[in-house]
């Protein structure tokens, strides 16, 4: 068992513990955490996002994401427009209602996150961001 494997196992455990904790909190309203994640990813990009691009940030298969977007469109939270210039593609964006919903849930959730990470020192939080950034391949050529 290498150090790397121990570290990854520890990361998975932390992820599981915190996700369960967040999921148990009563802030999600009509959304599941996965649905919120989709709204959040969309809220970060002002320009409409491609489905395939969104799929890279969400832990869901492409068909599952496609259908989740269906439901979010049907509920009036997300808009699906054909992409000029690539007519296979789809461009996704939040509706005003979607943006509002994201914010309403995001606020208390962000506080939960801050509280959960308050066991770390500011230095540790900075280190965590750097390390996970490298793992996600942020600075890959």
């Amino acid at each position: 068992m290498t150090r790397a494997n121990e570290a990854w196992e520890s990361l998975m455990k932390a992820y599981a513990v915190l996700m369960k904790q967040f999921n148990a909190e009563d802030v999600w309203g009509e959304l599941t955490m996965r649905e919120y994640d989709v709204l959040y990813q969309l809220s970060k990009c002002d320009s409409p996002l491609r489905l395939s691009e969104l799929n890279r940030h969400v832990l869901l298969s492409q068909p599952a994401l496609s259908r989740m977007v269906d439901r979010l469109v049907e509920r009036g939270l997300v808009e699906r427009c054909p992409d000029q210039g690539d007519r296979r593609g789809v461009r996704l964006s939040l509706t005003p209602a979607g943006r509002e919903t994201q914010r309403a849930i995001g606020r208390p959730h962000a506080r939960s996150v801050t509280r959960a990470l308050s066991v770390l020192t500011p230095e540790e939080i900075a280190q965590l961001a750097v390390i996970t950034g490298k793992l996600a391949g942020n600075e890959e050529k």
Copy 2:
């Protein structure tokens, strides 16, 4: 947006990227990653594990885990015994076949993990283990 929130988002992204990467690798045989996770958790404990205890380490609802154990029992990988002393409870352990399957998959998977974390320095790996350990509440009161 606090530093803590940025760090958590970065952790989630790293988790998503690496999980997708691992999932795409051709090492899982007849198992899903979630099923492997259950076998792995069981492989770490020599004494049979309670379902509720196992559930704390796996990102699954209790009914979903109960049924996944059903399937693993049916496939001869896990054994379910009644718990003496608490007749509500169940004690889970790997069968020899389950242990073998876990090892056969675990070996190449562990190499993948090591490779994925090789972008980090040894110091960063050590820091990551410490930080995620704190997040998972390892050293709580």
